[in-house]
Structures are given as C-alpha cells and as structure tokens.
C-alpha cells in the first residue's frame, strides 16, 4: 500500500444554471493573455452538444486517453513510445484552432474615428489569429442552451452512442428536448494520459496533492499532451509555443482557498476536498477489462480515512496530519465514496479522473409536475427515473461508460432525499423505508441533504494548506526562543524599559497568546486535536 493524497472536486449538476461565471473568472485569472485567447481552462457545455473543442469526445478521431492492447495492457490510444517519436514532426491528431474556435475582438476604434457618413459606424470583428476581418462562425459556447440543436445536436458523440442503444430517446424537436450544463476543468487524473504522452517529461503530478502541472521550462512544444488528454484540457499557447493547463489554482489551494471557479460559483455547486488513495492500485484499476467496471474499480482505489489503519499508514507515508484530518471531513470523499452519488466523467478513458459529477435530477421532478402528478412522491419519482426526460442512457454514456446502473442508483438516492426532506418540511413523519430502499439511514440522508442543499462554505471546501508544518514553525519562531540577553536591548543591555516587555515595541508577536493556547491544548490532549477544533478554539480567543 502506497497512500497518496489528492485534492479533488465534485460538481452537483442539479444546481448548475449555466451562468458561466466560473469560466469568466477563470479566464480573467489565468488565460487573459496573448496566445491563450481561445483557451478556457474552465468551460461550461450545454449537453447534449458538441462541447469544446468540437466533438472532443470522439476518441476514434482524436485518440485521447488509454486503451487496452491485445495483451490487456494499458497503452496510450494515440500510440506507443516509438510511434510517438516517429510521428513527432507533426502530430497527426492535433485539433486545429478552428476546432476550438477562432478568437476575435472588435474594431472598436472605428466607432469613434469613422469619418462622417450616412451610415452608423460599426465595430467590425477582427480575428485575433490573423488580425484580419473575419466572419464569426463558431465560439466556445456556440451551442449554449441548445442553440442550433436541430442542426448541430446530432453531432454530439454521446448522442450518437446513446442512439445506437436507445434510438428514440434523444430528440431535438422543441417539445421533446432536454438539456443540462456540464462545467469542465482539468480532471487531474490519477492515471493522466497527458503526462504519459509528453515526450519531454515536462508534465507531472505533484506528489503532495495530485495536481497535474506543466513545467514551462521543460516543455518543448511537441503537442503530444493535447492529443493525449481525452478531455482536451491541455492547450497549446500559440505565442509561447508551450502547453498550458488548469492548475487547480494551486497558489490558492496551497493557502487553503478554494479555486477561482469554485469560489465564484453562484450556484455553490462545487465541492473541494482531499481523497486518500492507494497509488499501487491505480494501474491495475485503470486496466480493468470491462469499461463498465472502471467506475467501481476507481472507487476501489480510494481509501477510507475513517479506518485507523489507513490513517496510521497515511501518516507513516508522510501525509501531514491535517491532510488526513481534512480527508475525514472531505465533502468529496462523502459524495464519492460514502453516499456514492458522484460519478466520474468518462471513466472509459481509463485516466481515473478526479473531478466527479452528481448527475442532474431536477428535470425529472419538473417533468412529473407537468403531468399533474406529485413530482416528489417517492413512488412516482422512482418510476420516473427510467422515463427521464434526460435519458438515463445519455447520462450513462457520460458518467458510467454506458452502464445505467450507477446513474440510476445515484438519481434514486437524490430522489429519496427529496421525498424524505419534503416529509420533514411538511411536518409529516418521514418514512424510513424510503431511505432504506436506497441503502441509507435517516442520519446519512439528512447529512447528505445538508451537504448538497444547505452547502455551507466551510463544508463545501475543506482544503488543508500546503506546508502547514512550515506555518506552525514560522508561528513558533515568532516567539523568541533565544536568550533575550542576546538582543541589543535585552535586560543586560539596557533593560525592558519602564513599561515592561511590550512597551513601545511593535515586533512582539501578537500570535504568541494563540500559540500558547494551541500548544497547551495540543500537548495536554490525549489524542491529536481535531483540526476544526483547534481552529475554533483559536477563533474564540
């Protein structure tokens, strides 16, 4: 067993209203630079839809992710090491900028500088790639809210797959359509194919928090990572000639702040937390033979931080105590492993993604209400899941390699939670059978409700800081540890002055009192104090 910790994310799709605030704030923070005009580390897609870049899920064409070769061994779909080096002079499966979209600006100057004439001056669109006037034909979000779905909807690779299984289920006629939003960032996979595809070895996974980054000094611009990533979440900066990707906002998470996309999410649908996993099991899990078994296999890689054995091993493996504690309180662990309502995006790519999704249930309830039935009655609701307006098969193509089982189980839990909480709201006695029917008890159900519906900031984001040992050391070093006689104005060197130690001197640390209490609590306690308790006790002081 080789325990590692990873910062992971869960998104609750029920709450996503498709406002693109995450995309915009991420863009402002990270990709508002030359060469990155077309890049969205975070984008929100309307599904069904082609996504961004267009049809990125069509791996027959783009060859992202892993596959099993004839001997059942894990290999990159884009080819082995020799093929990669042999085709290094041009990457045959690289998306062009037009597959994303050609970025543009407007000739605003014309609005003020145009000579007097009969017509109003207009701000002509100008390509940011060629600098020439252009016709705007596609954007990162062209098919937002099903725009153009009758024309483009059929091009969604997942629609094609779903139709192959349940031909009547996906319709784009106005009164038969469905849609939901899918916000996407880099998956920071456990088995990242971009890392494996990089000839220079410039992409790496940080051992302390699992964030996947590109070393800009080692990247040589071979572009193999863009092909390697099945989610197309590595981008080529066409000005610097280097690959860039979502950084999970590591400068923020390192100091305990949520990522920009999470922080600014108005729907409060993102959850951040630590997952502990066994790194030795990853390769075997990713090589699971059946694609539909990959979700369960990945669950099997995660470790339960409530298990004292796991906690001991984790600390022995050098994972800081507060990381292990954060893993216990991790909302991601709860949604992924305890309640099992979150599902990975495209487990069939075998990259073991670490940004998971709670599938959307809301349209079911709405659809049921419209038919005149009580949308939150458990009998109606359970039955309706199979006749969802968003076909189960479509969700299954996204989140479970086509297996409707995990999606149905997740939606049933969400449905059961609604019925249960409705009973409480109406002052009825909740029927424990409802919770039991989805394998949960009442406390769990209410805890899940609290996490999903109330979703307090500090419960959504449980982010241990990097180098917390360092923080403690710095704090302690603020308390003088050496003899005060050593200092220029120590007692023997002129004394403390008439007004005692703190008089007129600002360098005396104000943290000393807190540190004193925290240290005393730590040193006199029988067990290591809970991180939250320490924080709370400090808050009171």
């Amino acid at each position: 067993m080789r325990i590692m910790a990873q910062l992971a994310m869960v998104m609750n799709l029920d709450k996503c209203i498709g406002c693109h605030t995450c995309s915009v704030t991420c863009k402002q923070a990270w990709t508002n630079r030359d060469g990155m005009e077309y890049v969205w580390f975070n984008n929100v897609e309307t599904r069904p839809g082609q996504g961004y870049p267009r049809r990125y899920e069509d791996q027959e064409k783009w060859r992202g992710g892993w596959r099993l070769n004839k001997r059942g061994k894990l290999t990159l779909r884009s080819g082995g090491r020799f093929r990669k080096l042999a085709t290094i002079f041009s990457n045959p499966e690289l998306p062009e900028i037009k597959d994303y979209y050609e970025p543009w600006t407007y000739e605003y100057k014309n609005l003020t500088d145009a000579p007097l004439g009969d017509d109003y001056p207009v701000a002509e669109p100008r390509s940011l790639i060629t600098g020439k006037p252009m016709k705007i034909e596609w954007g990162a979000n062209w098919d937002d809210d099903l725009g153009g779905a009758p024309q483009y909807g059929d091009l969604d690779p997942m629609v094609e797959k779903t139709r192959a299984q349940a031909s009547e289920k996906v319709r784009f006629a106005f009164e038969q359509t469905f849609m939901f939003y899918l916000p996407r960032i880099c998956e920071h996979c456990l088995n990242p194919s971009c890392v494996a595809a990089c000839p220079s070895g410039a992409i790496y996974k940080r051992s302390e928090d699992g964030i996947v980054l590109v070393d800009q000094d080692r990247c040589r611009g071979w572009r193999e990572c863009v092909t390697g990533c099945p989610y197309k979440k590595i981008y080529f900066n066409h000005r610097t000639g280097k690959a860039e990707k979502c950084t999970f906002c590591y400068p923020r998470t390192e100091v305990g702040l949520p990522t920009v996309c999470s922080e600014t999410c108005v729907g409060r649908l993102r959850y951040l937390g630590v997952l502990l996993y066994d790194a030795d099991k990853v390769a075997a899990a990713a090589a699971t033979e059946e694609e539909t078994g990959l979700y369960e296999a990945q669950l099997g890689v995660f470790l339960d931080p409530e298990d004292p054995e796991v906690r001991r091993e984790a600390e022995a493996a050098g994972i800081p105590h507060d990381w292990v504690e954060a893993a216990r309180r991790s909302p991601v662990h709860a949604l992924v492993s305890r309640y099992k309502v979150a599902l990975p995006l495209h487990p069939e790519y075998r990259t073991m993604p670490m940004v998971w999704y709670i599938p959307p249930l809301s349209p079911v309830v709405e659809a049921l209400n419209e038919t005149g039935f009580d949308g939150e009655d458990p009998d109606n609701l359970f039955g309706a899941i199979d006749t969802l307006r968003i076909p189960l098969e479509y969700l299954a193509e996204l989140f479970a390699a086509g297996d409707t089982g995990p999606v149905r189980a997740s939606l049933e839990k969400l449905a059961a939670m609604r019925s249960h909480m409705r009973a409480i709201n109406l002052g009825e006695r909740p029927d424990p059978a409802i919770a039991a029917s989805v394998g949960m008890d009442l406390t769990e159900m209410e805890a899940m409700y609290r996490l999903l519906a109330v979703a307090k900031y500090e419960e959504r984001y449980v982010i241990p800081t990097a180098a917390v040992g360092d923080a403690r050391r710095l704090e302690e070093s603020a308390v003088p540890t050496s003899c005060s006689l050593d200092h220029a104005d120590g007692p023997g060197m002129g004394g403390e002055g008439a007004f005692g130690q703190d008089s007129g001197r600002t360098e005396l640390p104000l943290v000393s009192l807190e540190t004193f209490h925290a240290l005393r609590a730590q040193q006199t306690a029988d067990a290591q104090p809970h991180v939250g308790d320490v924080a709370a006790s400090r808050g009171e002081k």
């Binding site: 090491r81 020799f82 990669k84 080096l85 085709t87 290094i88 002079f89 041009s90 990457n91 045959p92 690289l94 998306p95 062009e96 900028i97 390509s127 790639i129 060629t130 600098g131 020439k132 088995n191 990242p192 890392v195 494996a196 990089c198 000839p199 220079s200 070895g201 992409i203 790496y204 996974k205 940080r206 051992s207 302390e208 800009q216 000094d217 080692r218 990247c219 040589r220 611009g221 071979w222 572009r223 080529f236 066409h238 000005r239 610097t240 000639g241 280097k242 800081p320 990097a466 180098a467 040992g469 360092d470 050391r473 710095l474 240290l519 730590q522 040193q523």
Partner: protein, 236 residues
C-alpha cells in the same frame, strides 16, 4: 583568407553553437521550443513537416558518414569507391530533394496561410534563408561535380580537413583546391551551425530520446529546500 575561412570560422561557429546552447539552457529554457504553428494549419504541415524532417535527418546522416568515416574504413568493409559514389550521388541527392520539397511546401504554407505568416519573425526568415541556401548549394555542388560514374572526391580533401578540425590542427591546405561551390556550401553550413541556438532550430537539441526510457507517469515532490520539513511532533 584561407586561414580565416578554414582555420578560424569553424571554431567560431562551434563556439557560437556551444555558447548559444549553454546560454539558452541557463537563461532561456522557456524559449526553448519548436514554436509549432500546427494549431493554425494542420493539413499541409502533416505532409510537409515529416517530409522535410526525415529528408534532413537523412542528409545529416549522409554528412556524418561522408565527413567522419574515412574512405579506408568503407574500403575495409568491402564498399568500393564506385558503390559509395552511387550511394552518395543518388541517395544524397534524393534525400536533399525530399528535404527541399518539404521545406518548399513549408515555406509556401508559411507565406500563404495568414495566421502562420503572422507568427513568422525576422529571425525565422533569416533562418529559412540560410537553411534553404545550405541545402540548395550542397545539392548544386554535388550534382555539378558528378557524373554517374565518378564525382568530386571530397573524401580526399574536405573530409580529412573536417576531421583535422577536431584534432585542433586544421589542415588548411586541403581546402585550397576544393571547387568553389563546395567551399561556399561549407561556409554557409558553418553559418547555419552557428545560427542553430539563436533561432528556432534550437529544438533539434530537445530531441526527446529519454521518452523511450522514462516511466509513463511522472511525479514530483515539493522542493525540500523551499519548504520547511515537518519536524518531529512537539511534546514530551
């Protein structure tokens, strides 16, 4: 003049090459890239780039063979001078033609595809000029001084001179009788070598051979020098 061209220039070019690589490695690793333009245009590049690169690699191999493998060695393994000449003439010219066709298509693409042209710097243009000149002059010299049966024996003059450079005692006299076309080709070649680290050609020194041997997934731990270690827990 002879001393300058055949005694000093090679060492200046080599010094510029080494100094440039060291400088790039020390101060400009961020700029060390292929500066690929494939994202702007893929179709032409997918044909032209492999054609050019494979052609030029073969040309490079040919130069190494011609300059640094003495005729006595090829004789020893039973390759007659005639066989060598045929191989050198047809193989070399074919490789040169392939490389030239590739680079012609690449330059055409660069000129006609607006985004690619916009991303072209003055540095690139100088580089293309020298590179194309080196290839064209080399082929011209070869073809002009060859018949199907025999050709100019550069293995008696240019090759020993090139090897003498590495013994640090350049035999300048060997180059005096060499045809002018070969001389110009050699000078342009040395110019090209000197230019490599200061242009996008630097990417040839990033050839990722280590990819064949490294593990697929790369992990990195925090730099211990930048992060304080977690000490033993306090207490007694």
């Amino acid at each position: 003049m002879n001393v300058l061209l055949w005694g000093a220039l090679p060492y200046v070019a080599f010094a510029l090459l080494v100094a440039g690589i060291v400088w790039r490695y020390r101060y400009d690793r961020f700029g060390w890239t292929t500066r690929s333009s494939q994202i702007y245009e893929s179709k032409l590049l997918n044909i032209a780039s492999p054609v050019f690169h494979y052609g030029i690699l073969f040309v490079l191999a040919g130069h190494l063979l011609g300059l640094f493998v003495p005729a006595s060695w090829t004789d020893a393994i039973g390759v007659t001078a005639h066989t060598y000449h045929l191989f050198s003439l047809y193989g070399g010219t074919l490789a040169g033609a392939v490389a030239l066709a590739g680079i012609a298509l690449l330059v055409y693409r660069r000129r006609t595809r607006a985004p690619v042209f916009r991303a072209t710097t003055a540095n690139d243009k100088v580089m293309y000029l020298v590179l194309v000149a080196a290839i064209v002059l080399g082929m011209w010299a070869k073809v002009a001084h060859s018949t199907p049966t025999a050709g100019y024996e550069y293995r008696d003059t240019i090759a020993p001179w090139a090897r003498s450079l590495f013994r640090l005692s350049p035999d300048i006299g060997l180059m005096s009788g060499v045809p002018v076309l070969y001389q110009i080709h050699a000078v342009v070649g040395m110019l090209l070598i000197a230019l490599v680290p200061y242009t996008r050609l630097i990417h040839m020194f990033a050839a990722p051979v280590q990819y064949l041997f490294r593990p697929y997934i790369v992990y990195r731990s925090p730099d211990e020098r930048q992060l304080a270690r977690r000490g033993a827990p306090r207490g007694w």
